[in-house]
């Protein structure tokens, strides 16, 4: 456990050492926060609620979505891509640690960095100038925290599975981009899926994307009540199990057939 905790710490220290980047990241998030809030205010002008969600709830939705976007900045896929390309992955395999736990620790380090650099400032600025992002109730908040952890695992496993493809083909081209766009639109990260036509909504329930952004946020704002939230968390657990098994299977295959290039 100690080496992994050390990696989390290193990741945090590394991120804080680029002070301009810290500042720029902060500015980016604040701009994004204001622009999306102006957008939803314009959309709700003269309208009380749409799909049983009022303007205040929608503003909280967009604030929490930006926060989750920061938490979900997962680098496992990119790490594997770079290391496979340069051949550095051989060095990682020589280390006396499980490399996938190592990549996971690095990503947890990113989450800790996000909390310090972005999430706390976003919460402060949002509370002062836009909306206080308060949960619907304490129960909703606890369920939200649990579902966010599950969302994170789903996201991480999807990214890690895509990362494993690099071991096979060195470069998967824009497939990773396609995956990112799919997640962006189908997860309700900006526009909630409940605004889509009913047929699309019904189809998306059977895919993992809505369980990444929309589900935890709708629990937070109270659109999903506690009992359906528990069912949703169970569905998330099934997706984690499914992706976990797939990841394990591909990983075992990949570890037997590693090709290291470069020198």
């Amino acid at each position: 456990m100690k080496p992994y905790l050390y990696m989390i710490k290193i990741k945090l220290l590394l991120a804080l050492s680029y002070r301009y980047e810290v500042f720029i990241t902060f500015i980016t998030q604040i701009i994004l926060l204001f622009v999306s809030s102006f957008f939803w205010k314009a959309a709700y002008k003269g309208i009380d609620s749409v799909a049983m969600v009022n303007e205040r709830q929608m503003l909280i939705y967009s604030v929490i979505s930006i926060i989750l976007g920061n938490i979900f900045s997962i680098s496992v896929e990119d790490s594997i891509r770079q290391k496979v390309r340069k051949g550095n992955v051989a060095v990682d395999f020589l280390k006396p640690v499980n490399i996938f736990y190592m990549y996971f620790s690095e990503d947890i380090g990113n989450v800790v960095t996000s909390v310090v650099q972005q999430i706390i400032p976003i919460l402060i600025v949002s509370s002062l100038f836009i909306v206080v992002p308060a949960p619907a109730s304490a129960v909703h908040f606890i369920l939200f925290l649990v579902s966010v952890c599950c969302s994170y695992l789903i996201m991480w496993l999807i990214s890690a599975i895509f990362g494993l493809f690099y071991f096979w083909v060195i470069d998967i081209g824009p497939l990773g981009e396609i995956k990112n766009y799919m997640i962006l639109i189908l997860s309700g990260s900006f526009v909630p899926v409940w605004l889509f036509p009913p047929i699309i909504q019904k189809t998306l329930v059977f895919l993992p994307f809505v369980y990444i952004y929309q589900f935890p946020i709708s629990v937070f704002i109270g659109k999903t009540s506690p009992m359906p939230a528990l069912t949703g968390i169970a569905v998330q657990a099934v997706w984690i199990l499914g992706f976990g098994l797939l990841f394990g299977k591909i990983k075992r295959h990949v570890e037997k057939n590693i090709m290291v290039q470069g020198g």
Partner: protein
């Protein structure tokens, strides 16, 4: 004259090499041909879903917003083809890659502009042209001579404006080493300013995006003139001509910042 033809020949050779490189990996090209349109199709769906559930944003109908969005994507596509090298200028500086350009007997800015002609960027333009064509038909845009000329001025200006802003931000890497994050900020701002009419933002924000960081000229002001739509601010004169002037001005400013930054370049790497 001799120097000019030498640079012309060099530019043509570099373009040829870059196109050959782009065609070298057909599967990669096909991949981008699928991936890039996807993001714009999703953008279009977002606009449709929002306007259907709520109302016309800032008084702009869905058809007018599609016209605006299409116009923005075309200039985005052109800027991706011509100016993609500015996005990873931080890498060129921190890895010492710029050193190679400094030892060649050619103008550094010229080399920087032509060493990566991004042929694949055309895959961004294709959906832009389709969306824009649909926007033109749906919003009943008239292709008169004046409108066509204004449209061309707006496209050249918007592309140069994007290129200028990218170059300025890329050149900041001479001072702060990593400016990639700022490019990310710009993408987000371009996305919000090209996808939705700018008059949905409060006047102070629109003022900033008009007079300080004039991204409103990328597609919002030209589209508002071409479609006679609500622009929020009443700006004097031909807005497409303004776009052209602002674009060229910003591109020249970008060149200037690059040249000043180059004096600060200390080289690194081994």
């Amino acid at each position: 004259m001799k120097t000019l033809s030498r640079y012309g020949l060099m530019a043509m050779t570099l373009l040829k090499i870059n196109i050959q490189r782009g065609l070298e990996y057909p599967a990669h090209l096909i991949g981008w041909l699928i991936s890039n349109p996807l993001q714009f199709i999703f953008g279009l769906i977002t606009i449709k879903v929002v306007i259907s559930n709520f109302q016309a944003l800032g008084g702009w109908s869905f058809e007018q917003t599609v016209f605006l969005y299409g116009l923005g994507i075309i200039s985005h596509g052109l800027s991706v083809v011509l100016f993609i090298q500015t996005w990873y200028m931080g890498f060129l500086i921190t890895e010492g890659e710029l050193d190679r350009m400094l030892v060649r007997p050619l103008n550094v800015f010229f080399q920087f502009c032509f060493f990566d002609f991004n042929f694949i960027g055309l895959t961004d333009m294709l959906p832009g042209i389709i969306i824009f064509t649909y926007g033109c038909m749906a919003a009943s845009f008239q292709f008169t001579l004046a409108n066509t000329l204004n449209l061309l001025l707006a496209l050249v200006g918007a592309t140069a404006l994007r290129g200028g802003l990218y170059t300025i931000i890329g050149a900041l890497s001479f001072w702060i080493q990593r400016s990639r994050q700022l490019i990310g900020v710009q993408w987000k701002l371009f996305d919000y300013s090209a996808k939705y009419p700018m008059n949905i933002y409060p006047p102070i924000v629109q003022g900033i995006f008009t007079f300080l960081l004039p991204i409103g000229f990328i597609c919002f002001y030209p589209a508002s003139q071409l479609l006679y739509a609500n622009a929020g601010f009443a700006l004097p004169g031909n807005l497409c001509l303004w776009t052209f002037a602002v674009g060229i001005g910003f591109y020249m400013l970008g060149m200037m910042v690059f040249k000043i930054g180059l004096r600060w370049y200390e080289s690194c790497g081994s």
